[in-house]
């Protein structure tokens, strides 16, 4: 897989003005998607779950590959 970096901004009432300035400088327009901290946590946990599933499926494929080959050192 080839993945693309994603940038997160943490914004509070204290740094909102600074965020607006920096964001507008970088992206030109002030349009963004906002997530609550709880939703950010859920998103992170969902991605962790996908990572777990991907790793486990990979290990199962390796297991079956080793099981059907004549010689196996368990790798």
């Amino acid at each position: 897989m080839q993945l693309t970096d994603t940038r997160v901004f943490v914004v509070t009432k204290d740094n909102y003005d600074e965020f607006v300035k920096e964001f507008t400088e970088v992206y030109g327009e002030l349009a963004f998607v906002a997530l609550s901290m709880k939703d950010y946590e859920n998103l992170a946990l969902n991605i962790a779950e996908i990572k777990r599933y991907l790793q486990q499926q990979t290990e199962i494929i390796v297991y079956y590959e080793n099981a059907v080959t004549e010689k196996s050192d368990g790798d």
Partner: protein
Amino acid sequence: MLRIYAILVIVGLLGGVGYAARSYYHDTQNTIKVLQGNNAKLEIAAETAEASTKALQADMIKNAALTKKLQSQLQKAEAYGDELRAKLNKLNLVVEALKDAKVLEGKMNGATAKLWREFMGDTGNTNQPDLPEWLQRSETGTGSEDSNPDTKDSDTNSNTTEGSATN
């Protein structure tokens, strides 16, 4: 005359005994041949059975080792999620954000970049992109010890990367 009959009877008896002995000999020889053939077949069958048993035992040992390793690897795959859950339970992100938004932002972006690269590594991509410039700046700004000094990407936009996928 009686003597001649007696001799004929004796010759007949001897002939009969000889014929019977010859038949018995041939029958016995045939039986021996059949038994030798059966014995050879049984030896082959026994060798095959022994080889099959050994192969099954070897397979059982191999499968037991593979299953043990699989269980261990499946368990290991749970580690990232468990660590993340523990970290999120320990931290209150709202409090951390109010304390220092930039520090939290740097940690989030650093962890996310690391996660994407782990995904790429897990799927066989050995040609991973450098960290983007905005992330390096963020890491330097927050004094992160994890910042990569070898990074070269000067792109300020998060929607571009370098490198190519292998799968």
